[in-house]
Amino acid sequence: MASDKIILKTEGLTKHYGGVHALEDANFELKDGEHVAVVGDNGAGKSTFVRQITGVEQRTRGKIWFDGQEVQFDGPLEAREAGIETVFQNLALADDLDVPSNLFLGREKIRFNLGPFSILDKRAMREETEAGLKRTGVKIPDLDNSIRHMSGGQRQCVAIARSATFVSKLIILDEPTAALGVQETAQVEEIIKGLKARGVPMIIVSHNLRQVFDLVDRIIVFRRGRIAATLNAKEVDGNEVVAYITGVKGAEGEKRAAYA
């Protein structure tokens, strides 16, 4: 499915938090239509990597190209406008709002423009929410209920549906099933498969190797802020990935297993 067009590329991407070298010199490429997993131990720098790409934080150094252009997003809104949708690890949902308000948070549909006091087009948002949820395969019984009253799985589904509804060029999922039970995980994976079928390029951060093998073409292993390996999902097994995650395999292995 992947074409030869490169949708996202990073070169020497680095992020230091004071003395903490959370991300060091990451070189990464994602082709259009490709699905890639980012794995690694807790604190390996996976979310940091995501935050630099999506403009949530400003990188220490390095370059990012997106869709053929070098980019420097000042905030998540700019990344979103460029076509990158992200489901952040700490669910970026407002608990006290209902489903349509959450889907359209920060990009509300407006009936009458009065600047910050613009009047909402609630009906249009509701209709598009229903359509978006349907297309993504998410079933929420009561859209008018605030997110607070929903299960973890339903909330995660809303978060993914929100990104899926608006995504145009790239979707990034940071541990989308981390806090979910078996059934809820399966439900979320179905939704992700639906997204894959639409051919949207995807980066998925996950600790769940079964899921990773199930969903992606390529696996990037982070270790201590560096990309320790880039592996073809069809050519490796779980033990090998674990070996890279834990550092049993590493440094010298990096060249050998470089993306073929």
Partner: protein, 343 residues
């Protein structure tokens, strides 16, 4: 907001019945308290408490000025903030506005050199609103950009604005406003203004981008920021509007009493916050509504006039008020605990 919609919908599901809205609880409280006074009225006074139109009018008039402040404070609390400066800003706005509203035939307290003429009423009105809005703007900017807790920022404003109110005339009260200015405080005018403001803010919070962002920030500030909301700018707007309403309230009190004094509005901030909390606005942000605050105001009014009606000492009023405020906060904390367990 969502809670209110839930309550309005006939949902047979028992799981949802548990999420009875805080507004509804407050309404039950209001009816209960009113009925208690009704019964006590027949027992001790031999007359009806509620069946007296004049009493009901005075009741709502008594809370209308603080009620206007409470509407502004409600949206501040929904963002997860607090405003302790309302009482002092009331005084500062009243003093400064009044100095522009004095009749020309009377010696001015300030601006003596400006000649003794009546200024058109629009001038003091704009000045009063501007003073309130400016105080709110400073509150909001401090909170948004220095990240100091709203409690501290508005505490600073509480002290500073009181200072300004005293400094403006070196402690002298200002009296004799023009008839046009006095009109905003006469008769049932304050109630009328309150009702218009309530209607406006119910609309703003439910049907505009302003409302969604206010709830979103109080719900999850990081989520709001990640969604591209300019949280800093929005907070400044919310505090500025709260200040604006406080300025308006200050002018209404001055107009009603035909005088402005530096000591006026003492503890209004606490009454305003209490009205909101009693009406189900959660101090942890994200939940509550102006309708709830309105019910909170009415509870306040019923208690105030109920005690007067029963000829009970004002001391008891304050004690009972304190108990009710604490009870409302405890109820809020319990609601949150239940929700956390249910999630």
């Amino acid at each position: 907001m969502a809670d209110a919609t839930n309550a309005a919908m006939p949902v047979p599901d028992t799981a949802k019945k548990k999420h009875r809205s805080a507004e509804f609880n407050a309404l039950i409280g209001l009816v209960g308290i009113a009925l208690i006074f009704e019964i006590l009225g027949w027992i001790f006074q031999g007359q009806s408490f509620l069946g007296n139109l004049q009493r009901l009018q005075i009741m709502i008039l008594q809370v209308s000025v603080i009620g206007i402040i409470a509407v502004g404070v409600t949206q501040v609390i929904i963002t997860g903030g607090i405003d302790l400066s309302s009482g002092s800003v009331t005084a500062a706005a009243a003093m400064i506005a009044m100095s522009f509203a004095q009749v020309g035939t009377y010696e001015r307290a300030v601006f003596i050199d400006q000649g003794w003429v009546d200024l058109p009423v629009i001038i003091p009105l704009i000045v009063g609103l501007a003073v309130g809005a400016f105080a709110g703007l400073i509150n909001g900017a401090l909170i948004a950009y220095t990240k100091i807790p709203p409690f501290i920022a508005t505490l600073g404003m509480m002290v500073a604005a009181r200072g300004i109110a005293k400094w403006w005339t070196r402690g002298q009260p200002i009296s004799f406003p023009t008839d046009a200015f006095a009109a905003i405080g006469q008769g049932m005018m304050p109630v009328l203004i309150l009702l218009c403001i309530i209607a406006l803010f119910v609309f703003l919070l439910r049907f505009t981008v302003y409302g969604v962002h206010t709830y979103a920030i109080g719900s999850n500030m990081d989520a709001a920021r990640m969604s591209g909301i300019n949280v800093e700018r929005h907070l400044i707007l919310v505090y500025t509007i709260a200040g604006l309403l406080t300025g308006l309230a200050g002018m209404i009190i001055a107009a009603r009493g035909l005088t402005a004094q530096a000591g006026m509005g003492l503890m209004y901030e606490l009454d305003a916050i209490a009205m909101a909390v009693i009406g189900g606005v959660s101090l942890s942000g994200g939940r509550g509504s102006v309708v709830g605050t309105f019910i909170g105001m009415l509870i306040f009014g019923v208690i105030l006039s109920g005690f007067t009606f029963l000829r009970l000492d004002a001391y008891y009023q304050e004690m009972i008020k304190g108990v009710i405020i604490v009870a409302a906060v405890v109820a809020d904390v319990w609601r949150q605990k239940r929700r956390a367990l249910a999630a």
